[in-house]
Amino acid sequence: MTEDTSTVPAGPATHSAVTAAGGARPDRAAVPGRYRSWIPSWGLITTKHLELRKRRGLMVVAVLLTVGLPVLVLGIRLLFHVADPKSYGPAGSPSVFQFLFQPMAEFGFIIAATLGATAGTTDLTDGMFRHLVITGRSRLALYLARIPAGLSIVLPLVAVAFAIVCLVTSFAGTPQPASVGVNGISVPAHLSQAQLKSWILQHPRQYDQAFVNGGPPFGPAPGALPVSRSASPRPVIDRDIATIYGDYVSSEAGQLNPPVNEMVKIGLWLALDIGTGFLVGLGIGSLIGQRTVSIVLMIVLQIIVTPLLAGHVIPYFLDGQRLVVGIALDQLRPAGLAGGGAGGPGHVLFGGRGVLNIPPMPTWAMITVIVGWIVGWSVIGAWRMATRDA
């Protein structure tokens, strides 16, 4: 820092008008170090947050699509139940939980992507980018400040919506049954994999009816290797227990409220989904510089490209299909969601999520694809921001 003062002739000492009104003159030698830093300051993050939050139209749509939808659905169900409990069941139920989760994830992703694209383009389109660059602040810091600023808007919104759904499901829902019906056979609920295996060995006939003759409630996992379960000898059960447990968990997800730990996992998965949408939207927005085009691209990716690519296995392009972030995210779904765990069709919304026919990929591959999208688009966005003519 001392080189700043030694190599630059001291400025005039009479710049008093603004300084007098604005407080003490800052230590000039201390300024440049902060300017060079790529770490965004707290003030920069909070003002970027303010800039996004003050977009009233966007915020209204975001609140309506995230919090508004579950509030409306659950509110109506609560009212009906209160008015006529005999005709209308409790507001919360496993199926309502699954039903509300799908649009929450879909709309949450799109809202997050829209907010990301807005954060990535608003300075450019409003003409503020030039002002910000002229401040001398590191462009990387300007880019990075948008990440916490945007996430601190969209994540709380989705968290509130998810919390409402969880609370209604838990406290205003149907009583939890002690068993799960699998193809008409009652299997005790909340079993671990080891407990299920023990139950199978003790109840071979019920096992055959539930899991072998009847098959899993939602059909075999797409792309999973065929499992021979006819004889049900112990070695076969040992080999197939993971798949059998996946079928059991899928049945459970449709009939039971997810336990608290599953709800936490689902919430974290939702946060990952939303965060990915925001960061990819931010990167694309920063690269293109046009808000509308970026948003359209993100919506097309989410509701057209992903379902199309996930609808059928293309033998020679399977690995390419797996590189789509929506497919990787789908395969990372928690077991507590219909279609989670070992896979299988849950509620179909927008033709894709939850019914993806792509054969399972290893966890490392899912994580690699998701991290690749996040890091890749962030790097591209930051690079464009750093090199763009202002």
Partner: protein
């Protein structure tokens, strides 16, 4: 045929414990992605390194040791890593270095947009503590020069420094002391003036946030500071732009066409504000095509045309040395007088007006030439009622030098 078969990549196939075959494509694509990112980063860092090298290879020319009027080199400046140019008078007739040094120093700056040369080998020196006008017609390259100077776009060639700090290599350091408006000042319309300043203050750091009330008061926007910018007039946005400039308590302000969109009262206020900023010891460099405003506001000026700086220096000196003598004539027959003087060849130009005739005498003409005009008219039978020599304005000079350039090209 499977792609992996075709490539003979069975060995790369990954098989999941559950039995699903991943194939070689995914790992390969991941590797390709990583390689691509690495290549991009390498290219980026190489470009930055090359730019740094280009910056560091520049050295100011040593001053002529014995030339009259040259500024003596200031000791170890030539060897310092960030020297202020000690060059006294360049081939282009650049002015001597003032005591405070240069606020802006540009040498050989060139910027192209495809085949168009927007800035052509510009040499520009702005003395500290002055109001400096960068004057030129529309499309002359004024804004491009300012954008290049501020690092908003890259230069193709040349060296620049702001307040003695090299740019773009030390751009952040330099811009911490600079406030600038480039083009029309635009802000977030959905935010208030104060919120926009908060945003810029947060980006500036260093206590800029605390200077917001003072800056708003300085430009007379305190009353409307909490209104949305969407409701601001053009003049108010200009003033908000100046307030944004003041957030950093700058030593140098660069204002691009600051009078644009202002009514006469607004222009008067802006002029007074610029003068007061200069009186505080700041340097103000403003670009404009409004000659009258520049003449009234600035101490020194550079004239730019077709991307080139034609002349620069203090306004008084430039106008005085421009050489043209202008005489206004009140006579019995201005049209005949004009024809007569044009035939005589003693004038550089004649403009017929009602009721006066304006005669421009050639560069370097003496007072005797004025008497010669009178004599010729009287001999030609034209009664001369009045003859007044008028001082050339910056506008006269500007038009003469730019048109001269047009003739040469």
């Amino acid at each position: 045929m499977n792609v992996s078969c075709a490539l003979g990549l069975h060995c790369l196939a990954v098989t999941r414990p559950g039995g699903s075959n991943i194939g070689p494509g995914l790992p390969l694509l991941v590797v390709l992605l990583i390689a691509g990112a690495g290549y991009g980063l390498t290219r980026l860092s190489r470009r930055r390194r090359e730019r740094r090298v280009a910056d560091s290879t520049w050295r100011p020319e040593p001053p002529e040791p014995s030339s009259a009027g040259a500024v003596a080199p200031s000791g170890d400046r030539a060897g310092s890593p960030d020297p202020v140019t000690p060059r006294a008078v360049s081939a282009a007739g650049l002015p001597d270095e003032p005591a405070g040094g240069w606020a802006v120093e540009i040498h050989g700056l060139t910027k192209r947009f495809g085949p168009n040369l927007a800035v052509d080998n510009v040499e520009l020196l702005v003395p500290r503590g002055s109001a400096f006008g960068y004057l030129g017609p529309n499309g002359a390259g004024k804004t491009t020069l300012i954008r290049t100077l501020l690092g908003l776009t890259r230069a193709d060639a040349g060296t620049m420094s702001l307040l003695g700090i090299r740019v773009p290599s030390e751009r952040s350091r330099a811009l911490a002391r600079v406030g600038a408006i480039v083009d029309e000042p635009r802000f977030h319309h959905h935010l208030t003036g104060r919120e926009n300043l908060r945003l810029l203050g947060a980006a500036r750091g260093g206590g800029a946030d605390g200077r917001i009330p003072g800056s708003l008061a300085r430009v007379g926007l305190t009353e409307r500071a909490d209104d949305k910018v969407a409701s601001y007039s053009m003049g108010m946005r200009q003033r908000l732009g100046v307030a944004a400039c003041l957030l950093g308590d700058p030593e140098l302000l660069i204002l691009d066409e600051p009078m644009n969109g202002l009514d006469p009262a607004g222009m008067h206020e802006m002029r007074a504000m610029i003068r007061s900023l200069v009186d505080e010891g700041r340097t103000v460099m403003l670009s404009s095509h409004l000659l009258d405003e520049v003449e009234r506001t600035c101490d020194a000026v550079a004239i730019v045309d077709h991307g080139r700086v034609i002349r620069q220096g203090p306004i008084d000196e430039l106008v005085r040395t421009a050489g043209a003598r202008i005489v206004r004539l009140d006579c019995s027959d201005p049209a005949a007088a004009g024809r007569l003087l044009e035939r005589s060849g003693i004038t550089a130009g004649v403009t017929l007006g009602e009721p006066m005739l304006t005669v421009t005498l050639p560069s370097g003409a003496s007072r005797e030439s004025v008497a010669e005009v009178n004599r010729r008219l009287v001999e030609g039978g034209i009664s001369v009622y009045g003859l007044q020599e008028v001082h050339a304005t910056l506008e006269d000079w500007f038009l003469s030098v730019t048109s001269r350039l047009g003739e040469q090209s």
